[in-house]
Amino acid sequence: MADLTISSVTDLGMITLRGDLEVLGRQTRAFAGCAAPEQRMSTASDGRRLLWMSPDELLLTCPAAESKTMVASLRAAFGDGFATVVEVGDARAVFDLAGADVPGMLAKLMPVDFDRMAETEIRRSRLAQVPAAIWREGAVWRLVCFRSVARYAEALLRNAAA
């Protein structure tokens, strides 16, 4: 898999939102341009992506630089409503995977049916022994895992690509 590149992404802001997805979606559309996605799907707009995580949880990715103000805006918009908005970008490690057969490489590590994965779909799954999520950003596959296992994850990816 010689044409495969694995690059670490360090400028991605990530925000966890919990609450009623419809309620969350109204504000994310207003502030981030992304409406609430369908189950297991994502919506994107202008460098931001809103991903379905669970029946009451979304993940918003955006440029790291705007993460803090985005959190503040969303929190203000929800006010005392039952919604939680938290920055989690520091808790994660992100890898962008590019090349012709990324799914073939990932199939060695993730129990994911890549052939049947829609263009905007996200899968929360695992990468060998650690939790990981995967989705597409255009031609690139974006993989997210916890920060503490970043080195393990990268070694796994390089080993699988070798």
Partner: protein, 985 residues
């Protein structure tokens, strides 16, 4: 003498010679040969020794069922034991070793066991090595261990790569014979995503040897055409040298692929909507005396060696059978120019077109006859013929070099059975076959599996194709029907054989289990097939009884005068054939063996002498070693430095769970034993968590962030578990409470700044007010220090003036380094987990996992103050009300100091008078934490002692391993600064 024939061998390339060594001798074979065919072609008939009696053995089969010809293949870092010679293809330079023979395969001392075999019946070891007891440990066990185990373990780490591969499909077809090809084609034409896997390197299965006509073409042509059609379809994945090893819940199938180039092996982890097992059938041996002699093979294997590899097992082959199929072997042998002196057919009046055809070729068919015994010593010289219906009186002797036997065919029902598919006994065909009405079932209660072809019990080509087409609801191709005479069950030959013959009739070739052993097991009361199996070891070897199971249980049924289906089979368990450990491990080896969790500062620790300690999957510095220091010296230095000046601790691994929502306070009041809803924003409170039974399971500091928000700190090991615990209650019990949790453990690097100089250094960094007035003990504030946004908590686990700073993880390292630089001149040092533990023990603070072990309640630890009396309920409250927990004799937390200042042993027991019912010395307590206190210059310990809290000042003796007990005085667990004067610096 086995030999290569002048022509033939569809799988070998006679233009390409391959050289390899076997037990140090050089051999040549052809490209495409298996180890077995190449060695047989070289006249090497003796290929192994049986496990128990070390009897000489050769191949009995040509496939995965082979019990005898197992070799150690490769050398050093590429050595693999127990490789089946019938399946391993030869390669140039391959180094092959025989197993289970000493000093040599040809002359094996262990054969003595065979000559004494009548003294080694089933259960011999169980009966013999019971008495005298002391001999077991020193004589019997070492002896048996040396003799036990098949094959040698590799001595070096495996040099090869392995990988796993996840795959998904609508239909997974296991087996690439005509049935599998047919099923795959049918499913693929319907548009399904299909995987077809074949365990050998070749497609077509038995039809390639046995021939036949499909759709007006020779079977081999139909196979080639079908394969080409499948290859052309995008929705079909074809894998060969890939075994369907195990079927698990919900259509999950493990497949073991031999790759060779790149990874040596690949474990496919397939999730299939539907599994079709087209796994064929295995021919059964016949049980006659001497049936394990080199030169006695399954009839199908004899023709496989001729057709596939151009190898004959001998010039003259006597065929012994109870069914028509073995007659095909006669045909193949005659076509190859070899002789068939006789066919001994156990059936009284066998008659069919095939039988007539063979008779017409001049072969003598002896009806109603069987083998009384095989003649020869280490290889077949002939057979003694008897009446099958009799007791073994010899009618005549027929000279031959090979005996081809067939006791009928058993469908390979293993995969069907792995996940609960049931079998039915088919009286007419004398076989257990899958019961299509009782398949393995998926989550929806519907069957997810079908069988196709011979695996269903179909025996003729036409039936096989018809069955396979049915399995996928496709149209079967045209096939001329075959007329065959029915099988006659033969479980013992002759049926009235006496003890002497029965003791030479082998059922399990690998474990040397004979007809006499099974009968003995039944006689001694092991009537369940599972018990008989374990008593005799029938089917317990690496071949898992592929050849022996049915014959064994039939013998058992006969001895018990029961019907075969009433005796039943033993359990079929995956894998179908052994999988190497390397393949199962996949990438999980070396640095990828297990994830190691690292904090943002881990690299800094590593480069500053960290001596690591595993804490869950984290690695935390136990201490930081400086040049020439011992671990003990480093720990002592770190404790004193922190108490006297300043210490920095990487506390990032502590769990940090955000709990938020209108019902968050109510929720935390249920989770913690004390009151959390009353905490004011800006304040912290130490809390305890118990499980439903009342046992203490986690502790930590909770901070109230705002009206609706709390941040709960957990122990390092508890972070994920407590988050799961919270979600469990929220999702299943209190689903209508408005509470969110978010695990923020890794979002923050957390640094404890501990010691008299703590405030000085933080003030030096500047940016927020950290004075005692602005930030009193057990409070927190957001602010900046040294230009970094952070949250500062005034909490202490050491008794010293202490701040814990939570910094966004990305900036953790930068801030840590800034802190180090700013505090260098006050003598700050980083400290590790051991200094942390010692300092908390000096203060009498408990540690989850030391003072608790799942049997300890907060009351045992004197933590009554943390149990709210105001609350109606909290998790564990009801459990703690149980009578046993009110027992005044419970062991409770105390401090312990030895009279001589020495350090108590970890886990030491406090001894009491007398003995318990088991003759063990009574005990009255145990040590839970013990250290040398650098601060106090002597040993300190915490422990749980019966009525401990009431016994201040008393002396108790604690055990020491290999020494007399040592006396310790019961004291308060707070050894240092009981007034708490140091907290404010």
């Amino acid at each position: 003498m086995s030999a290569r024939l002048a022509t033939g061998g569809r799988l070998i390339d006679r233009t390409r010679l391959v050289e390899f060594t076997f037990d140090g001798r050089h051999y040549r074979g052809f490209d495409g040969d298996t180890l077995a065919s190449a060695l047989l072609a070289n006249g090497q008939l003796l290929l192994g020794r049986s496990f128990k009696y070390h009897r000489p053995r050769s191949v009995v089969s040509a496939g995965p069922e082979e019990p005898n010809a197992l070799f150690g293949v490769g050398e050093d870092a590429q050595f693999t034991p127990n490789v089946r010679a019938t399946e391993e293809t030869i390669q140039d330079g391959l180094v092959v070793r025989s197993q289970n023979a000493w000093p040599a395969l040809g002359f094996d001392i262990g054969r003595l066991n065979d000559w004494g075999s009548r003294f080694l019946p089933a259960g011999f070891y169980y009966k013999t090595f019971i008495h005298p007891r002391p001999l077991w440990k020193h004589v019997f066990e070492p002896f048996i261990r040396r003799a036990a185990g098949l094959g040698a373990a590799p001595t070096q780490p495996d040099a090869d790569r392995y990988e796993h591969r996840y795959a998904f499909c609508d239909t997974l077809v296991v087996g690439g014979g005509v049935a599998g090809l047919m099923a795959a084609l049918g499913a693929a034409r319907g548009g399904e995503r299909v995987m077809l896997i074949e365990r050998s390197a070749h497609w077509g299965g038995r039809a390639m040897v046995d021939g036949g006509e499909i759709d007006g073409r020779p079977a081999a042509q139909w196979v080639a055409d079908t394969l080409a059609a499948l290859e052309a379809m995008e929705n079909v994945t074809l894998l060969h040298r890939c075994e369907g090893a195990g079927v698990y819940d919900h259509g999950y199938v493990l497949c073991d692929q031999t790759v060779g180039a790149g990874p040596a092996g690949r474990l496919w982890r397939v999730r299939a909507e539907r599994v079709v097992a087209a796994t064929g059938a295995i021919e059964r041996p016949l049980a006659f005396a001497g049936n394990d002699m080199p030169g006695v093979l399954l009839a199908s294997a004899v023709r496989d060696y001729v057709v596939d590899y151009g190898v004959s097992l001998g010039d003259r082959t006597v065929i012994v059978t109870n069914n028509d199929d073995a007659y095909r072997t006669a045909k193949v042998l005659l076509e190859a120019g070899l002789q068939v002196p006789a066919i001994l057919d156990a059936r009284p009046n066998p008659d069919s077109a095939l039988i007539q055809e063979i008779k017409d070729l001049g072969v003598q068919v002896h009806a109603g006859r069987g083998v009384a015994k095989v003649l020869g010593r280490d290889r077949v010289r002939g057979v003694a013929v008897c009446i099958q219906a009799g007791e073994g009186a010899v009618l005549q002797e027929i000279g031959c070099d090979c005996v081809a036997m067939s006791g009928g065919w058993s469908p390979v029902v293993h995969l069907w059975s792995h996940c609960g598919g049931k079998l039915v006994w088919d009286e007419d065909r004398t076989m257990f076959r899958p019961d299509p009405d009782r398949p393995p079932k998926g989550a929806d209660g519907a069957g997810f599996m079908a069988t196709a072809g011979a695996a269903s019990g179909a025996l003729s080509l036409a039936d096989v194709l018809e069955d396979a087409a049915d399995a996928v609801e496709a149209e079967a191709p045209q096939c001329p029907p075959e007329q065959a005479a029915g099988i006659e069950p033969v479980w013992m030959m002759p049926q009235g054989a006496g003890q002497a013959l029965r003791a030479k009739m082998f059922l399990d070739f690998q474990n040397d289990v004979k007809v006499s052993d099974i009968r003995l097991a039944a006689q001694e009361g092991f009537e369940s097939v599972e018990h008989a199996k374990r008593y005799t070891t029938l089917g317990m070897a690496t071949d898992q009884g592929k050849l022996s199971n049915i014959n064994g249980l039939a013998i058992l049924a006969d001895r018990l005068e029961a019907r075969i289906p009433d005796v039943g089979t033993t359990t079929f368990r995956p894998p179908y054939t052994p999988i190497t450990i390397g393949t199962l491990a996949g990438e999980a080896r070396g640095e990828l063996f297990q994830p190691v969790r690292q904090t943002p500062m881990s690299d800094w620790h590593e480069s500053h002498g960290a001596y690591w300690e595993p804490v869950g999957q984290w690695r935390r510095p136990y201490c930081y070693l400086r040049d020439g220091e011992t671990i003990e010296q480093a720990v002592t230095r770190e404790v004193l430095n922190t108490r006297q000046k300043l210490g920095l601790l990487d506390a990032s691994t502590l769990g940090k769970i955000l709990v938020r929502g209108p019902d968050a306070g109510r929720f935390l009041d249920m989770l913690y034993t004390n009151m959390m809803s009353s905490l004011k924003p800006g304040r912290c409170r130490y809390g305890l968590m118990c499980d439903e039974n009342g046992f203490l399971m986690d502790d930590g500091v909770v901070a109230r962030i705002d009206d609706q928000t709390w941040l709960c700190h957990t122990t390092t090991g508890g972070a994920d578990r407590i988050h799961g615990w919270m979600e469990d209650w929220l999702q299943t019990e209190w689903w209508d409470w408005q509470v969110h949790t978010v695990n923020l453990t890794e979002q923050f690097a957390q640094i404890a700044v501990v010691g008299p100089q703590a405030r000085t250094v933080l003030e030096r960094l500047g940016g927020m007010d950290v004075s005692a007035e602005a930030l009193p003990f057990m409070s927190w504030a957001d602010g900046t220090l040294g230009g970094v946004d952070l949250r500062a908590y005034r909490i202490s686990f050491s008794g010293e003036l202490s701040y814990e700073l939570a910094i966004p993880a990305e900036q953790g390292l930068v801030f840590w380094e800034a802190l180090m630089a700013a505090s260098a001149d006050v003598g700050a040092t980083p400290y590790g987990t051991e200094a942390l533990h010692i300092m908390r023990a000096e203060k009498g603070f408990i540690m989850i996992g030391d003072e608790t072990d799942g049997t300890v309640i907060p009351q045992d630890l004197g933590l009554h103050w943390a149990l709210s009396k105001k609350k109606d309920d909290y998790l564990g409250k009801r459990g703690q009300a149980r009578s046993h927990f009110q027992d005044p004799d419970r062991w409770t937390l105390v401090g312990l100091e030895t009279l001589d200042g020495s350090v108590l042993e970890d886990g030491a027991y406090a001894v009491a008078d007398g003995q318990n019912a088991n003759g063990q010395r009574n005990v009255q307590g145990r040590v839970t934490s013990t250290y040398h206190s650098p601060t106090l210059g002597r040993g300190i310990a915490m422990g749980l002692v019966a009525r401990g809290a009431e016994r201040m000042g008393q002396e108790v003796a604690f055990t020491r391993i290999g020494k007399d007990p040592v006396s310790a005085r019961i004291v308060s667990p707070v050894f240092y600064d009981p007034e708490g004067a140091r907290l404010n610096g």
